[in-house]
Symmetry: C2
Subunit: 165 residues, 2 copies
Amino acid sequence: MTSPMHHDGFCCAAHSGSDSMAAILETAETRARMQGARLTPVRRRTLEILLHAHGALGAYEVLEKLAAEGYGTQPPVAYRALNFLVEHGLAHRIRRLNAFTACAQPDHDHRAAFLICEKCNSVTEADADLLSRALDQAAQAAGFQLDRATIEAVGQCRACQDAPE
Amino acid sequence: MTSPMHHDGFCCAAHSGSDSMAAILETAETRARMQGARLTPVRRRTLEILLHAHGALGAYEVLEKLAAEGYGTQPPVAYRALNFLVEHGLAHRIRRLNAFTACAQPDHDHRAAFLICEKCNSVTEADADLLSRALDQAAQAAGFQLDRATIEAVGQCRACQDAPE
DNA sequence: ACTGACATGTTATATAATAACATCAAAGGC
DNA sequence: GCCTTTGATGTTATTATATAACATGTCAGT
Ligand SMILES: [Zn+2]
Ligand SMILES: [Zn+2]
Ligand SMILES: [Zn+2]
Ligand SMILES: [Zn+2]
């Protein structure tokens, strides 16, 4: 057990945001349905694993957990579930980390930016609305037809700045 | 020979921008010096290879070329040269592509954004000043101390939009 | 010439991702 | 209810990307 002290599916403050984990899963279920897709057990469990994780998780970390619970033991099992979640807006891929994280606002389409702390490896999904607009402009200026974008910031989170040393 | 028709080190319009390749190499040389680093033969050649490439190049593609010219044949040779160039502002790493590209404005420090065409795989370095400011704001709002960022847009370049189908 | 710092090269290994195929389960037509 | 079609799950095997650890070589300063 990696996170010993949790109740109701939560383990820390970071996981007690506006949406509860149950609510997110509910949303996920609905959202997948609407897109004509099924949130099958592996997929759902993969999402839970991401939701429960502190930072982002690598595919092989996810695979380990899935395997330990009786799901498949080979890489494609994890990659397929993760790709499904990403494609359906339920998770994001963090390219700089070769890792995945559950989407914090799965209820609506959005372009996300990520704040990656170099000290504690936390990954925070930030509102990228302003950013997105600036990016649209930059793209337009270059005559580029923008489809989607990756925005990943690296630095130090508030907690780590406050922490001594 | 990959690019049969080139003169003066150039092979196409995309390579005939404001800075000539020779000028960029000159700048690179100077810039490295100023940072107390040496633009050695492998490093310089690696930069030339990137400058000469159309899209971004993977480390192993670069390695192939280096090896063919009598440099080392093993991955660290390419990775070291590429990392050197990135660390000294002479190249950028494109995470989405697991690839590298020569910096288009090596004469000054900047945060870059990249426009990646899904059709022709071209990679264009865009001005990210506006973007950078928006990102700073977003980070600040989250109490995040921003160090550096990756901004990569995916879509269709102008040429590919105009091209029929 | 000697020394210390850095550069280059190697072998070996770690890490991340996909291809190709067999089997199984759900959804829909009849 | 059966059959067919599609999609999901699992496997083995392979490919792709990146780094660790170490030996050798180069060069500037003394
Ligand atoms: Zn999200
Ligand atoms: Zn932190
Ligand atoms: Zn640049
Ligand atoms: Zn294009």
